[in-house]
Subunit: 322 residues, 2 copies
């Protein structure tokens, strides 16, 4: 296929995507997620159309009721005539297939409404890293014209922090009665919460969780003047979901008033550009080694005949202009 | 300082390190961990002295009793007159300071015995990445002549998988009664377990955990003939710790008999060399950017004036010969 035809195909695909065609959207996301041929050209062409969606990240431990809360939020936004994209990221269960099964059930429920599009990403060790792939999938959804994008992640590990960082608004979901250990896991994401949700707040211990959040907030981890509100919900019956949507609106208004949205985005892009550059350099590093040569060098290092630190410097010096 | 003097310093430092001096060891580890000047030369000089230690990775969720089990193992090895290094990696609690506090308490207990050296690494987002830094710290401990190196990590996220991958033996610690959610978190590390431990095995539910492990094992995730044994322990009173040490010995014997140790090491180095090369090349590419330029480019991307995908390709092309 020559370049002109290929460019024509991409343009047709983008037109179809932006007209709201769900099958084109699904295909574009698969192309980007799995790094199929043309993924990079597709993203280049889509990027100028992105930047309009409101991106909301929601994170919490397994069992916190994330999916139910995300579904309720999606319903609420649909009632307001906004289109919704959901990206469900669960890198912790690659073998149970939980995310994929849950996805199917959720898909069925929303099947009648093309205004809600759900995509599960459970691929640990995906090409390009999970955070990077999620960012790219979000760009596709954004460019397709979705008004709201909800990204849900399991609240553990550096990957998850990287993922929620790309959202405009980060919601951290806690639940009463999960014990100190579970709360400890989430300490790393406390500083990035714009809004706290205590879900299943009809359970015993909701006040204790609230006190713990307040105690952590007193450590003043944020660099701005925003004090993250604590919203109590019972996602299973919809209680508090409107309060959560209102809190999200408040935070968006705050970002706009203080002109922080662009500042946040510039900071995110500084880090994302470096990460993207790292991925590209990795590809070049792999190419530099060559597969056969690599096995031979690795064997020499494993046998302690060569030190890896000098070896890598030598190869890098050859590969780069510096 | 000229190169000759610097080389002389490094040699003196290595002699002192290999004589078992704990202060030199602590300083060398800090140099490598924090990428202080000379870290790279130090590693180059130390590498030829490494490769002798037995490296055991132990991973499990918070509350699984990892630290207690690691301490008990360390005591046992000390009774056998082996020297021990412990690297405790906990990237999930950067704000609570849990690892550092726990480390101090543990250090005090072992203070009288220079044959046990404990180092906590809680630095999320450390310079070279946590897995890379842990590997380098392990090389220092290995070169210092420690017989056994125990690496303990929280069993969540890709970082942890990368960390335990550098061990000769990987021990996965589970506990009864932590609920399905918590067990789900650990699904991703099931395939890398050489030995399973059910700790706190006097609690109700130990049999259920054992059945779950057996069910997962039936999925045949391993590429060799080894069936990971399941060892039951009560780390708090030392029950089963000798069984664990025996299981570790069995696995080492299996590796030797099948000549798998070197093969495993070559595979690990294939991946580590690529990661190391990527890091070096990324540094070179970043240097090419310059910090101010970076902020300017990030702003252009955030304002959607430039597409990041093309931008990154251009920078990478400039930085390399390819």
């Amino acid at each position: 296929m020559d370049t002109a035809a290929s460019n024509h195909d991409i343009q047709a695909s983008i037109d179809s995507l932006r007209s709201g065609d769900v099958r084109t959207l699904a295909r574009a996301i698969s192309t980007v997620e799995n790094r199929r041929p043309g993924w990079s050209d597709l993203l280049k062409a889509l990027f100028p159309h992105s930047g309009r969606a409101r991106i909301i990240g929601l994170t919490g431990a397994p069992g916190a009721g994330k999916s139910t809360l995300v579904d309720q939020l999606a319903r609420l936004y649909r009632k307001q005539n906004q289109t919704v994209g959901i990206v469900a990221v669960d890198p912790t269960s690659p073998y149970t297939g939980g995310a994929i099964l849950g996805d199917r059930i959720r898909m069925q429920e929303h099947f009648a409404d093309p205004g809600i599009y759900i995509r599960s990403m459970a691929t640990r060790g995906s090409l390009g890293g999970l955070a990077r792939t999620t960012a790219d999938v979000t760009t596709v959804l954004d460019a397709s014209g979705r008004d709201i994008i909800l990204i849900e992640t399991v609240g553990v590990g550096q990957d998850e922090v990287d993922i929620v960082r790309l959202a405009d608004i980060t919601v951290v979901i806690l639940v009463p009665g999960m014990g100190d250990d579970v709360q400890t896991i989430k300490a790393g994401i406390m500083e990035i919460a714009d809004i706290f949700v205590i879900n299943k707040s009809d359970r015993e211990g909701a006040e204790r969780v609230e006190r713990e959040i307040r105690a952590l907030q007193s450590l003043a981890l944020r660099h701005d003047e925003w004090t993250p509100p604590i919203v109590k919900t019972v996602a299973s019956d919809g209680t508090g979901v409107e309060d959560l949507a209102a809190a999200i609106n408040d935070y968006v208004a705050y970002l706009q008033k203080e002109n922080l949205a662009l500042k946040k985005s510039v900071q995110n892009w500084q880090e994302r550009l470096v990460e993207m550059l790292r991925d590209v350099m990795l590809e070049k590093a792999r190419a530099q080694f060559g597969d056969g040569n690599m096995a031979k060098l690795a064997a020499e290092v494993a046998e302690h005949k060569r030190d890896p630190y000098t070896l890598v410097e030598e190869i890098a010096a050859k590969a780069t202009n510096t």
